[in-house]
């Protein structure tokens, strides 16, 4: 534990000390630190415990690819698990804890798993526990697995999320730009700068809290100046720049998903600010300058704390002013680690560089000698020693096509460079499969026809000045694709090292078994890959599912290439033949809160209230959700339960009068010279001869002959109709009518307009409904039996002068009227009707009583018309016209829909009339109470009229087929099974005398 903060250097603000808490201990760092750099500077070594084996893990990288230092940030309801310490910006008062360990990450009892490690190979838990007890013994095995699984999940896993509601709020936003540049390293800044210079609207996003990318990792003021100049120039040119913003996904048409962390780095954030913003950006051109990630390779115990990526050590030194160790061994297969060695030696470390290649260029090697760095070629690391921190390494010496044991080297920091992998994830989101570059041993982006250009090291270009040049090339292609004038710049070659990299994925000596990790975040070892192959998993997609390689937050950043290489070796094939897995969004994790934005709780869906909502509440309504609507459910009087209330409302309506808010019904104005023809084609029953001043109940079918919706349509003139739909299907019917008029029958001169919001409606139902309504009209005679017979409609005026529409139609089965007024007059309508209804013993009723009234009558609603029911199934076949053609008339006649044993609408009585039963029960023949049964129950109610519970449902063959027989209403998990009888659905007043009366 010898990492120290060096005296000077770095871009941290040494004037501003920041205190924070790690595992209940107090520490301090500097503004500009990450949690990882601050922990490193404080000499902390074990930051995490691994997923499965609970092995101690330290800081392995300096970025999003981190697989070791995964921690929990925040406490109680703000606890955020699985945060990478390497990307967590330090702020005053930050509280972080180790996770997946007990009692803590330094001393974790779970580490016993590591001792048993050789048993815990890939698939161990499933193989072991799913077979107990053996399947042949019966079905219980799965149930017992469920029990094991709970314990296993607890032992193997990551941090725990808070179970409390998220106290923060999140926002969604939308952005547009000409050019989106992802990444602000040398390539990104160069590209953005040139585009902005050309007057393009540029949006530059950077996941880090500092702009600059790799510029920040280089010692000396040159690269920092370059960065500062580029950032200044961009700001002057008016480019939009967002740091702490990750482009986590790339989608069709230049759409990118951004996650902006607004307050995650602030100690006392303004409560009015969202914690994070989820931004959808639509870019005309996208430039991906997403960089490259350094790989490690598999050798024994390559996860011991004190082992990290070589370039990460340069980042900690030059950006954060932290020297990771005093005695440093660097193991590499490429040129990039030479600068690392030089940097660390300059900072005072004793450095030994092992290069697996036997020949390295003199220029590089010579440079190292002047700094006192020891270089051994043809040498690499075979195994790391040290339990809680690295103490020494065993080396291996190249013997051509095998390795042999070399000397041991003491060290306190081991840096690994196994090559670089361009971040091709975003392009992979677009379905562009990367191609293998065998010179640089990495996948590089393939060509794409989309307006997306890749630049810099994400293209496999390593040097910073080459990256700048490739940024300019990318800018040119963006400018050209947006129709601008571009001067072509020559493209730098990929790679850029003096000596080619030599592929190195694993170092092992036969017969020596060591834990060599390829994906340390998920404890996937090289042996696991071989086991997967041995067990018959041959593709890389299999590998990912058998082992957890590259899953979850890692998404293949750390171990994908090694896993692929080892699989290719096992199969005796080349890497490109094995392929690569498809990277999926998000590139880094996105919190559920950000995805939800404000769409949760009451804002999860829009809320629709009728114009008399408040009036209903003032008059004692309890509301119920009906789709998006809130409707009065029942109007309980003092001391009444819901059951007592709806039974009273039902009885009152049947004997006197009831008023019900029916505003939520869909209402469509259908107008034009061809309106009659149109409606006649849409409805299955005859409408061609509907007289002016009349309404008719209509059923419309879909093309396939199934019922779509029902409602009434009123005729006010030769060319003017008013259609009502069910509440549930209002929007669907409107879309359907528009489709028919615009797509199918363009010759019809008809206009449809939704007027659902324009009209408020009330049903006035019951034997005394006419008296009440007449008393509320300017001309009471308008609704006399002669002036307004059954199904008559009229436009009239209320006693208060408000215009209204009245139809004498009935859903309740009683004499009834629907009265509509302009929405603004809704309250005044209620204020007229209500006192008169109350004077004669009437009441208000809600949807519960509405349901009881209609079930008694066998009237169908959405519960019955569920998209599977034909007009004959619903018992309304008589309404379907045999003399005209209409939508659905041809396919309604297809044999399947004409079968007489199809489930038909029936009424249902409990056999023992004192019993209750539930909607959703399956109706079965008593000798076969299993499977799909003979039908189902759609709606139930207590019928005051009949004095017992009744229901509606569907039974094969209809009630005629089951006369005198009993059925079982099977409801095993709720009410239990019980016997029912099947009757005609018209359970009350089957001849309809009351509503005609």
């Amino acid at each position: 534990m010898t990492a120290v903060r060096v005296e000077q250097g770095g871009v941290v603000d040494r004037q501003s000390e920041v205190s924070f808490t790690w595992d209940n201990r107090h520490y301090s760092g500097f503004a500009g630190d990450t949690l990882a750099s601050a922990l490193l500077a404080n000499g902390e070594s074990i930051i995490g415990r691994s997923f499965k084996y609970h092995r101690p893990r330290g800081i392995m990288s300096a970025g999003v690819e981190e697989s070791g230092a995964i921690v929990t940030v925040g406490v109680s309801h703000r606890r955020d698990a699985n945060v990478k310490a390497t990307t967590q910006e330090l702020f005053p008062g930050l509280i972080a804890h180790g996770q997946n360990a007990w009692p803590n990450v330094r001393h974790d009892l779970g580490a016993v798993n590591n001792l048993m490690g050789r048993f815990f190979s890939a698939g161990f838990y499933y193989k072991t526990f799913m077979g107990i007890p053996p399947f042949e013994w019966g079905r219980k095995g799965t149930g017992i697995w469920m029990q094991y699984e709970k314990l296993i999940r607890r032992a193997a896993g990551m941090g725990r999320a808070s179970r409390d509601p998220d106290p923060d709020h999140y926002e969604h936003g939308h952005l547009f730009c000409d050019v989106l540049v992802v990444g602000s390293g040398p390539a990104g800044l160069a590209a953005a700068g040139k585009c902005a210079e050309q007057g393009l609207d540029v949006l530059l996003v950077e996941q880090d809290f500092e702009f600059g990318g790799d510029y920040l990792n280089h010692g000396g003021s040159d690269s920092i100046k370059k960065r500062n100049d580029a950032v200044d120039a961009l700001q002057k040119a008016g480019a939009r720049m967002m740091q702490r913003t990750t482009a986590f996904g790339l989608y069709d048409y230049g759409v990118a998903g951004l996650l902006q962390r607004v307050t995650d780095h602030l100690p006392n954030a303004d409560p009015h600010l969202p914690r994070q913003r989820f931004l959808t950006v639509r870019a005309r051109h996208t430039i991906l300058a997403t960089g490259a990630l350094e790989r490690h390779y598999a050798f024994g115990n390559n996860d011991v704390p004190g082992i990290m990526n070589a370039h990460a050590a340069v980042c900690y030194l030059n950006r954060f002013g932290v020297l990771g160790g005093e005695r440093v061994v660097i193991t590499t297969n490429n040129d990039s680690a030479y600068a690392t060695a030089s940097n660390l030696a300059q900072a005072g470390a004793q450095v030994k560089l092992l290069d697996s290649r036997r020949q390295v260029p003199d220029s590089v090697a010579g440079l190292l000698n002047t700094r006192g760095i020891e270089l051994e070629t043809g040498t690499t690391v075979l195994n790391a020693h040290g339990r809680k921190h690295i103490k020494s390494v065993e080396t291996a010496i190249s013997g051509g096509n095998h390795w042999r044991r070399g000397m041991d080297e003491e060290c306190d920091l081991l840096l690994v460079s196994g090559g670089w992998s361009p971040v091709v994830n975003l392009l992979s989101h677009r379905g562009v499969r990367p191609v293998w570059d065998s010179n640089n041993c990495c996948f590089v982006p393939a060509e794409t026809a989309e307006p997306v250009t890749t630049a810099g090291s994400s293209l496999g270009i390593w040097g910073n000045s080459d990256c700048e040049a490739s940024g300019l090339v990318a800018a040119d292609s963006a400018i050209a694709s947006l129709g601008g004038q571009s001067v072509s710049v020559s493209m730098p070659a990929t790679g850029g090292w003096e000596t080619p990299l030599e592929p190195l994925y694993e170092v092992e000596i036969k017969g020596v078994t060591k834990k060599s990790f390829i994906d340390p975040q998920h404890d996937v070892t090289a042996d696991d890959v071989r086991l997967a192959h041995q067990e018959g998993f041959v593709s890389v997609e299999h590998l990912k599912r058998y082992t957890p390689l590259g899953m979850a937050t890692d998404q293949g950043k750390m171990g994908n290439i090694i896993g692929l290489a080892l699989m290719a070796e096992a199969l005796g094939r080349e890497i490109p033949e094995v392929g690569t897995t498809t990277f999926r969004p998000p590139y880094t994790p996105v919190s559920i809160g950000a995805l939800a934005g404000r769409a949760f709780g009451a804002h999860f869906k829009p809320l629709r209230r009728t114009p008399m909502h408040d009036w209903n509440l003032q008059h004692g309504a309890t509301m119920v959700d009906a789709g998006l609507w809130q409707r009065p459910w029942y109007f309980a009087r003092e001391g009444e339960t819901i059951t007592e209330a709806y039974i009273r409302e039902t009885e009152t309506t049947r004997t006197s009068v009831g008023l019900c808010d029916v505003t939520s019904l869909g209402k469509i104005a259908i107008q034009g010279p061809d309106a009659t023809e149109f409606i006649n084609r849409v409805y299955s029953n005859a409408f061609a001869k509907l007289p002016v001043g009349k309404a008719r109940y209509g059923i419309m079918l879909r093309d396939d002959g199934i019922v779509m919706d029902d409602g009434t349509t009123w005729r006010f003139s030769e060319t003017d109709y008013f259609m009502t739909t069910t509440t549930a299907h209002a929007a669907k019917v409107m879309v359907w009518l528009e489709e028919l008029l615009q797509m199918r029958w363009p010759e019809l001169r008809v206009h449809v307009t939704t007027v659902s919001e324009q009209w408020a409606g009330v049903a006035v139902a019951g034997p005394k409904s006419r008296d009440v309504l007449a008393a509320c009209l300017a001309e009471p005679a308008t609704v006399s039996a002669e002036a307004l017979p059954f199904m008559g409609v009229v436009e009239s005026t209320l006693a208060n002068g408000a215009p209204c529409r009245i139809a004498r139609i009935s859903f309740s089965g009683e004499m009834a009227f629907e009265v509509y007024v302009g929405s603004d007059y809704a309250n005044s309508l209620m204020d007229l009707l209500y006192p008169r209804a109350m004077q004669i013993g009437g009441c208000l009723y809600g949807t519960e009583a509405l349901g009881a009234l209609r079930i008694e009558k066998g009237h169908v609603t959405g519960a019955e018309l569920d998209g599977r029911v034909s007009i004959d199934d619903a018992g309304l076949g008589k309404m379907a016209s045999e003399t005209k053609s209409y939508i659905g008339s041809a396919l309604r006649k297809r044999p399947e829909l004409q079968r007489t044993d199809r489930p038909r609408l029936v009424g249902i009585f409990p056999k023992d009339r004192s019993e209750t039963f539930k909607a959703g029960s399956i109706l079965c023949s008593p000798d076969e109470v299993e499977g799909l049964g003979e039908g189902w129950i759609t709606a139930v109610t207590h019928s005051p009229e009949l004095g017992h519970w009744i229901g509606l449902g569907f039974v094969s063959g209809g009630h005629e087929a089951w006369q005198g027989k009993v059925l079982v209403a099977a409801d095993p998990v709720r009410r239990g099974n019980m016997y029912v009888e099947v009757v005609s659905p018209h359970m009350v007043d089957p001849t309809g005398e009351r509503m005609h009366g």
Partner: protein, 94 residues
């Protein structure tokens, strides 16, 4: 996210639209035999490549549109009003 260039409203996210399915189907006349209707309603092509499909700008102008879209790449080749008459009015207006 597909972006659809509505001839009436301009380029918009596909979330403003609702998908109507194959737009090339010619529905038989209402009095055509069940076989013809069955062919139109149930016997559909599952096209790989460019297909003409219908979309309604349901959260916009509510016009039904015919969109030529590549089902592999989501590339949209053309967008026009489904109703010829309305389309002609639009052309004249421009």
């Amino acid at each position: 996210m597909i972006r659809i260039n509505c001839p009436f409203c301009g380029e918009r996210d596909h979330s403003e639209f609702s998908y109507g399915g194959d737009g090339s189907i010619v529905y038989p006349s209402l009095d055509a035999p069940a076989e013809e209707w069955s062919a139109a309603v149930f016997q559909r092509e599952n096209i790989r490549g460019m297909q003409t499909e219908s979309w309604q700008h349901v959260n916009g102008c509510r016009q039904w549109l015919l969109v030529e879209r590549d089902t592999m790449t989501h590339e949209i080749q053309s967008v026009r009003a489904a109703h010829d008459g309305v389309g002609k009015v639009l052309e004249k207006g421009q």
